[in-house]
């Protein structure tokens, strides 16, 4: 066990700005119609850069982060979940989906007022729930036009021209559809700008996460949840790309000056999948042992885009612009957007848990971890898929693993006291004691 050491720590200076961006995002969506703008809804995984070609007054509501926000508000979450169950939907479905549906069924927006109905739905099919999510929404909000892109072309390592064209072809169809449902002429320049922003913001987020390889870690995961979320809202926006640049600079400064996220850091962990959003205090509890969760494949790879660096390490993916590529037309923009997104780390394990294990072991090694906390998340079939296989892979690689059961969006399926006991036991077995 490492000797006890205390590092200097201080809050992030750009923290308030992150909160403001998030708040404005939800306000802009709700108020879009008052300003003559357009509202659309879709998953955080959808190709959100594409609707940007309809104008600067087009605002989205991405469903998973919205549902996670509901989950963090336990009182409203229970109301939503029960409304969904009363409507006849099973309790073991995706808990994000159930929170979102509940908000629609109740006609209540988390931030006040009635649920702001979107003008259209722009979605892609990354898991079974995503395929059904908005079909049900359309049952409850009849008349909303719905476009969905099928992305099931296999993992990044198996992409070829035909597979890429299959997705890009749907994107072209989607743009024609967007013009039809919005009555607006599509602007390719705005699309190109959005694609460049997306590549920039997602590469920058990976750079921020990479900086957490430092000891002491400049960020801990509870804070990272509030920062990565901006990418799930509008990774294609200049606002988010610029913010991540500012954040990267501040985190770099923290690393250079050994400013820690957790003053008593002596045990480094990672988690996996979405956390139980109503119980993020769990991450603070780790600190009583000097333990810190420095991130996870989820926080690193849902938004961050990565590549192998010449020294063999995992680092931020080089953007097309950094490679000297200037996007000239719609087709090129769509190809880059599709290819970029298909390399998303969190997209790979839908095809094989072994791909996920490889990335997790890599994180465990490169971020100098002492152990892993796996959330057997009953709320998400997609990201929990194969997690027991990941456990075995991590153990085989020599990393101690603890598991805890829970649900990212349904507090009824999480036991805080027992999970804390489990953490106590795990950290004790690793040789750490409470301060």
């Amino acid at each position: 066990m490492a000797t006890k050491q205390t590092y200097e720590t201080r809050p992030l200076e750009c923290w308030g700005k992150a909160k403001e961006i998030r708040k404005k995002y939800y306000q802009d969506y709700a108020a879009a119609h008052e300003r003559g703008g357009i509202r659309w809804a879709g998953g955080a995984w959808t190709f959100g850069a594409i609707p940007c070609g309809l104008g600067d007054d087009v605002h989205s509501l991405t469903s998973e982060p919205y549902a996670a926000s509901i989950a963090a508000d336990k009182k409203f979450s229970i109301k939503c979940l029960e409304a969904t169950e009363r409507a006849g939907y099973a309790r073991d479905l995706c808990s994000y989906m159930r929170n979102y549906w509940g908000s629609v069924i109740l006609d209540e927006y988390l931030w006040g007022g009635p649920f702001p109905k979107p003008d259209f739905i722009w979605q892609d099919h990354i898991c079974c729930s995503h395929a059904k999510w908005y079909q049900v929404v359309c049952d409850h909000e009849p008349g909303i036009p719905h476009f969905c892109i099928d992305v099931a072309v296999g993992p990044a390592g198996e992409i070829n021209e035909n597979k890429l064209n299959y997705i890009v072809g749907q994107m072209h169809d989607g743009i024609e559809w967007l013009e039809e449902v919005s009555g607006r002429e599509y602007d390719d320049e705005k699309l190109i700008e959005a694609v460049n922003n997306e590549c920039r913001s997602t590469s920058l987020w990976a750079e921020v996460c990479e900086l957490n390889k430092a000891i002491p870690a400049p960020l801990e995961e509870k804070t990272m949840f509030s920062l990565y979320v901006l990418g799930t809202l509008m990774k294609h926006s200049k606002v988010v790309a610029d913010f991540y640049e500012e954040l990267r600079d501040e985190v770099k400064d923290r690393v250079e000056n050994q400013i820690a996220a957790v003053a008593n850091e002596r045990c480094r962990l990672m988690s996996d999948t979405q956390p139980p959003w109503g119980f993020l205090s769990l991450f603070r509890y780790l600190e009583s042992y000097g333990a810190i969760s420095v991130g996870s494949l989820y926080t690193f790879g849902l938004i961050g885009m990565w590549e192998d660096k010449p020294d063999g390490s995992w680092g931020p993916r080089t953007t097309p612009r950094q490679k000297g590529i200037e996007i000239k037309d719609r087709d090129q923009a769509l190809k880059i957007l599709a290819e970029w997104n298909l390399h998303k780390p969190e997209w790979q394990h839908f095809y094989s848990p072994h791909l996920k294990t490889e990335m997790m072991v890599r994180i465990a090694k490169e971020w100098s971890l002492d152990g892993v906390m796996l959330h057997y998340n009953r709320g998400c079939e997609g990201l929990s898929l194969g997690i027991a296989e990941n456990r075995l892979g991590l153990l085989e690689a020599g990393f101690p693993v603890m598991t805890f059961e829970g649900n990212m969006g349904d507090e009824r399926e999480f036991d805080l006291a027992r999970t804390k006991t489990r953490i106590d036991t795990f950290l004790e077995t690793l040789g750490f004691k409470k301060d």
């Binding site: 101690p400 059961e405 036991d415 027992r418 006991t421 489990r422 106590d424 036991t425 004790e428 077995t429």
Partner: protein, 255 residues
């Protein structure tokens, strides 16, 4: 050196007093609604049993689900750590500890020094714990103490499909209506709980010697089912329910 360990279990509170590594006093109380008061009573009774006064106790360590509420304790450790420590002290060749209490079942793989290598717990479910056998004995209208010996007289292995204590109770009722002998149902109950526990043991990669602790270790029917499922002998200490408190008292001495 005299130390004490308090195991604040979900249903009962156990206190063990240790002098120079040997258990010299012990007591058990039902936790009830005021577990702290019950712990005070158990602590006083254990000291009385050991013939030792409060002032002679140098250090107290608590363990168990309610350990943060234990009186007198200066530190607490997890059930897993205390169970492993208690077992390897008594049985140095032990490498796997199976602990089945009222509300939780757990499997622990450890070294000869009591260092925990891996552990697995059953999750938010009574089907792998003592509460399960209690619920089933009620459904069978058989005293819990008689359930174990009764199952040893079974001549037929009946599969019990339910993984849930609530559904298992329905299944027991159906078997009773089908005139299935109670002995066979009792064995099916023990086989079901053993199946869940063995799943935990295999998860941590169990190796002999295997020691069974916790109150359910008194149930001879369960021990029989567990040995058949593990395909190996299981060692049961004389006071299996006290091993967690004993391990805590040893941890107090080794602080």
């Amino acid at each position: 050196m005299i130390t004490a360990g308090i195991d604040m279990g979900a249903k009962t509170i156990k206190v063990v007093v240790v002098r120079d590594g040997a258990m010299v006093g012990k007591a058990i109380m039902v936790a009830g609604f005021d577990s702290r008061e019950a712990a005070e009573q158990a602590y006083a009774a254990a000291l009385d049993d050991a013939g030792i006064t409060k002032d002679e106790v140098e250090y107290v360590v608590a363990t168990g689900a309610g350990r943060s509420h234990a009186p007198h304790s200066k530190r607490d450790i997890s059930d897993v750590a205390s169970g492993a420590q208690g077992v390897v002290t008594l049985y140095p060749a032990a490498r796997t500890v199976i602990d089945v209490g009222a509300e939780e079942g757990r499997a622990i793989r450890c070294t000869a020094e009591g260092k925990v290598l891996d552990f697995a717990l059953n999750e938010k479910c009574a089907a792998g714990a003592g509460a399960f056998t209690e619920a089933m004995s009620r459904a069978l209208e058989v005293d819990i103490q008689a359930l174990g010996p009764m199952s040893l007289n079974s001549e037929n292995a009946i599969p019990m499909n339910a993984q849930c204590a609530v559904f298992a109770e329905s299944e027991v009722v159906s078997l009773l209506h089908a005139k299935t002998p109670k002995e066979d149902i009792a064995r099916a109950v023990h086989d079901a709980i053993a199946s869940r526990i063995v799943s935990l043991a295999r998860k941590v990669g169990f190796e002999p010697d295997v020691v069974l602790i916790g109150g359910v270790a008194h149930n001879v029917g369960f021990v029989d089912s567990l040995e058949r499922a593990l395909e190996c002998k299981v060692i049961v200490p004389d006071d299996p329910e006290y091993i967690g408190a004993y391990g805590a008292a040893l941890a107090a001495a080794a602080r």
